[in-house]
Amino acid sequence: MPEKKQETNNIILDCQGMSKSFGGTHALKDVTFQVKKGQVHALLGENGAGKSTLMKIIIGLYKADKGTIFFEGKPYQVNGPAEAIRAGISMIHQELNTEPYLSIAESIFLNREDVHGKSPFLNKKETNRKAAELLRQFDFNLNPKILMEELTLAQSQMIEIIKAVSCNARLVIMDEPTSSLDSEETGRLFRTIRNLQSQGVTIIYISHRMEEIFQVCDSYSVFRDGVFVNSGELTEVTTGDLISMMVGRKVESVFPKVDCEIGEVVFKVEGLSGKGFRDISFEVHRGEILGLSGLVGSGRSETMRGIFGMDPLTSGKIYLEGKEIIIKNPRDAINKGIAMINEDRKNFGLCLFRSLRENVSLPNLRKLHKGTLINQNKEKTEVRDITGQLRVKTASIEADAFSLSGGNQQKVVLSKWLMSKPKVLIMDEPTRGVDVGAKSEIHALMSKFAAEGMAIIVVSSELPEIMGMSDRILIYHEGRLNGEIAREDILNGTADQETILAKEFGE
């Protein structure tokens, strides 16, 4: 190995010749990755490019097949996240791994609990106090004694962030930290990042949201299919440049919404109330894409879960094609032609240890029958078809869902519901963690399905997505609807991001 001593003043992390394969899949091929001290470094690449794999190697979750890592000028090797934290590196994972029955405080201080003096007895009071203080620092109004299982996905994500940041690491890896956060929380994260940066902490930032990259990062590296493509300073490139480095071809980064004819009302709710939302009424027309915007916790996802029969409704009526329907559980909803893509793909979307094929066909088995048996040929063809359309990157459709990269898992969840061709499609954060190319692919599919007569409801924390795709936007504020914006208003400039944000904050 070449001596790296001269550059150490500048480069904090230096990965040379990293290779890693899983079976036949080469996740990383002779990758070089360098990060300068004190910078926020963006790591970019399509879904399955190998970003998470390299980060997991750095914190010792995976072992590289080849390659050497220097951290702060010294050769670096660890056998797991605990050692990595001791060495000064912490990580926010793309897939959250929360312990549902731990409290927030216990979760933040897992493996570094406070004890009374030198005794083995836990000092819960001190742990809770420190947790409360951290939460306050992050303007996060939650009781540290609440159990993790009661938190929403976004709240758990914030706890993960707080946890990683509170380790006093000199290098913090953030693997898609904002994929389930709203604009306010994202802003809070960015303030934290700047704060850390001013203390000399270095950050590796992975995200598929290009606007964030330019807001918060200094430099970048791009991977494509497990190979290092390029790196440099962000001041020298444009979004377009980065995208073509990632994809290797030109891709439309703007959402290609195709306007189609909007028909009669297909789906309507009246006065829906439940835990987290009150008195919600709206209707969706055939061919319409209805966007729901709001801060996380404002009741959007909760309403959708209520409609889909996952949580009980306390009052309200639901109409499908003019007739009132009662939905007691998701099966009722699916049978009536309503499908829902859940924001939490790990808990509600996938059976991680079953194959991609089985995951995609699970809600569609009724259509894949030949007599009493599943028509396996038809199943394979249709699954290949839809996953191909969404460009799921996988060795085969028989691969475990677990072995896919985060974005590809999301595409599997999308495939499973798009294949079911429902009358009403509810999409809660449909493009969470999906790369730029695939995102416009998904948006194109949404337009196509809408044109075929589907009514689509989209919940998204990404304002550009909501604004780009929706025919109409409803805005939530603290569990109630607080305004509506039509596509024309956005197109002719009478409404913009600021208008929506103002309404989200209750105006």
């Binding site: 899983f22 998701p330 059976c351 079953r354 048996l373």
Partner: protein, 325 residues
């Protein structure tokens, strides 16, 4: 698919090897045991011994084919041992009263299936732990066996009925083997080729995702226990016919062997992972263990100890091979 795997065996790297072992390792163990036994014991390969292995395997096999559904759906059924006894006494009563063999068999199957249904309903309806529910219901079921037989064992003296357990088709293939064969095929189709089988995997793999995908979680769970009860009924018939007597005290510990066969065959206790061919291999391995120990003249006390150790070994192997993150 098959071809691709064959190609890889030659220039296999470590990951491929572990994947390969995960899938087929258990087959090698079975073949290895076969080879070792045929070398170390001259009697092993004799036709008589082999049919013997398989017919003892049949009883456990039928039980394991039911158990694999329950474990895959994320449960466990400890009550099948006592169902054997209940089946046996039921057959005894019906045969004594009517002499009608099909009726006796059907009655045994119905009563065991019914208790399977009851187990399932309790577990799925009230969301109780399968372990606890079946641990308790096993007492009820065994007690019922004692009640309906008055606590006595009685000989059946029905040579026609005993044929089910001891007879052979064309004087070559024992009927229990045929029954196991039939049940295995049914189980294979059900688990691997029907909607219900997929639902079993989904419920065991991730019950929340299954619910959100519109799977009828309630009936899927209940269904797994019904199948287990049904298989226990069939196994009860074989067992009663083999001993040609109705006994309320038989079947103790049979759930252990069935669970062991599933686990050795690659069924994950966490649910959601299993295969029918794997389970069959697990069944045969257990049969070989018993037969091998008999042939090598190991005393039955030591056999029990060995059995326990081997199950621990199998579970350990399973966790090591299937190590997941």
């Amino acid at each position: 698919m098959e071809k691709a795997n064959e190609k890889k065996i030659l220039g296999m790297d470590q990951h491929d090897l572990s994947l390969f072992m995960k899938r087929y390792g258990i087959v090698f163990i079975m073949v290895g045991m076969f080879l070792i036994l045929s070398v170390s014991s001259p009697n092993f390969l004799k036709i008589n011994n082999i049919t013997n292995v398989f017919s003892t395997v049949a009883l456990n096999g039928v039980l394991a084919m039911g158990m694999v559904f329950v474990i895959t759906a994320g449960g466990i059924d400890l009550s099948i041992g006592s169902m054997l006894a209940l089946a046996s006494t039921t057959i005894g009563i019906v045969l004594q009263a009517t002499g009608n063999i099909p009726l006796a068999c059907i009655a045994a199957i119905i009563i065991c299936t019914f208790f399977g249904l009851l187990n399932g309903l309790l577990i799925a309806k009230f969301d109780m732990f399968p372990f606890v529910v079946t641990l308790a219901s096993q007492l009820v079921i065994r007690g019922l066996g004692y009640v309906i037989s008055g606590g006595y064992s009685f000989a059946l003296a029905n040579p026609k009925f005993s044929k089910i357990g001891l007879g052979k088709l064309w004087n070559a293939i024992p009927y229990p083997i045929l029954i196991l064969f039939g049940i295995t095929i049914l189980a294979f189709i059900l688990l691997h080729q029907t909607k219900f089988g997929r639902y079993i995997y989904a419920v065991g793999g991730n019950i929340n995702a299954a619910t959100a995908s519109g799977v009828n979680v309630f009936w899927t769970r209940v269904g797994s226990f019904i199948i287990s009860g049904f298989c226990a009924g069939v196994a009860g018939i074989i067992m009663t016919a083999r001993i040609n007597a109705a006994q309320p005290n038989i079947g103790i510990g049979y759930e252990t062997d069935a669970i062991a066969a599933c686990v050795i065959g690659g069924t994950s206790f966490a649910g959601g992972i299993s295969t029918i061919p794997g389970t069959l291999v697990g069944i045969i391995i257990i049969g070989l263990i018993y037969n091998g120990m008999n042939l090598l003249g190991i005393s039955s006390y030591w056999q029990t100890i060995c059995k326990g150790l081997i199950i621990i070994g199998a579970v350990m192997l399973d966790t090591i091979i299937n190590k997941k993150r």
